[in-house]
Symmetry: C2
Subunit: 262 residues, 2 copies
Amino acid sequence: MGHIPAPPTRRERQREATYDEIVTVSAELLAEGADLSLRAVAARMGMTAPALYRYVADYQALVDLVAYELDKRATAEWAKEAERYPEDDPMARLTVACCAFRRWAIANPRAFSLVFANPVASHVTDRREALTVATSGCYLTDLLYQVWEKTKFPFPALEDLDPVVREAVQDPWIPAETSHIAPEDRGLVWIYIRSWAAVYGVVALEATMHCDPRVIRSGALFKATLVDWLPPLGIDGRQERERLIAILDEELARDRDAWPAP
Amino acid sequence: MGHIPAPPTRRERQREATYDEIVTVSAELLAEGADLSLRAVAARMGMTAPALYRYVADYQALVDLVAYELDKRATAEWAKEAERYPEDDPMARLTVACCAFRRWAIANPRAFSLVFANPVASHVTDRREALTVATSGCYLTDLLYQVWEKTKFPFPALEDLDPVVREAVQDPWIPAETSHIAPEDRGLVWIYIRSWAAVYGVVALEATMHCDPRVIRSGALFKATLVDWLPPLGIDGRQERERLIAILDEELARDRDAWPAP
DNA sequence: GTGCTTCGTTAACAGTGTTAACTCGATCGA
DNA sequence: TCGATCGAGTTAACACTGTTAACGAAGCAC
């Protein structure tokens, strides 16, 4: 009891730093369009490939590690962008965060594939569990919860849900903090899932380029998808609606400036 | 003039058969959970790997070939299912086809990734062009067109569209037959794109398992997404709506029976 | 039959993940 | 402080991958 959290010894700090370098180097490789390989990562770190086995069990573990950390770093990026708007304006923050997510995905398609399109093999429970703590999911759903606290938008009652879904929202296996949601309000989780499916869909379509490049540049598809979600999230008033659309447009304009011309 | 279409010589037939075997064998490999490799394909065909270079330029070409053909075969599958409903009932056919698409994606996640999540590199025009003739896209959009012919559901006027989008729908780079759509009706293509994004999103989420398995089994997320699209497609009447939902439920029930228990 | 083309072979190279055996240095207990 | 221990890293090797080059053996055309 009263344990001091064990001051990290020198070796532990070194080890932690190595882990950090692994994911940083991996991110570099992905950004350069190369593909992630143990040997490439090791080489760029000035090591030989087998040395990496001191840090990851196998290649898949490397991928998982990098995916998890990239998700974390990307989320920090979005959160920072979102903080341009005040804490008591979660809807603005959510809008900005979604745009930042999309921007990140399109700028780093390989990283996106790694984190969000990396097929989860049948029942490898480790990877499932890793998914349920994904930083990005928790961040976005938390923002959505804050929106709900303000607008109290409607969500389906538990008894209106498909029984299986009811069970799923009561004991969710998704990356979201749900412990603070009252049991009778768990229908809210269904909104989490549905809205995530919507933005995930467009972003995946755009990031993998399975979409007209001009449509991607314009951002119109993404915008339309987000705008459709305003009423269900309790944004009814014309004024508030237009305020958010303005924020959205502003973010999308930033993208067009940032990306190179085709 | 009056050319007989050059009767396929023996060699040509042989070659065609070899191509067929390549994609069949590739499909087998993917279905078994193995990953697509030149050597594995060649071995299973009783050949050595370099021999495949007589048929494909390199590995990426193999992937593209297999992706294109799998898409074609899968589409034929969906179309066959859809034909259980009469030709003058395109909405029923579309519903069934979407369910068949989802069923196929979840049953063959690797094939799905190959065809629909395979990132198309920056501006390799060949692959872009291949995408614009994808059989599945043409089939589904054609069904959607038939629905429009019946219900005349509304679509945005050209001048209401983002200028870039307007250009995109007038000269579309998407897998859809658009030549028969009157120029002033090209706003319809925007519906093509948006509805495709919606179903693609859910199916991608489910096929890559980035989703609660129970939600996948229940089919509720997919159902909700499709149901949301009924009104925009001109399905307003309660009767017609319930008829289609019944069809939808029936298809989803089939899935639950077909898949193994978790 | 003589050429030419096409299909397939073997051999080899560079790259991948992965394991085993080994070295060197830091850390810790006596 | 000495000696044991553990941990990070090495090299060598194996079984894979895509890919090229050089070669052989069929089929087809004249």
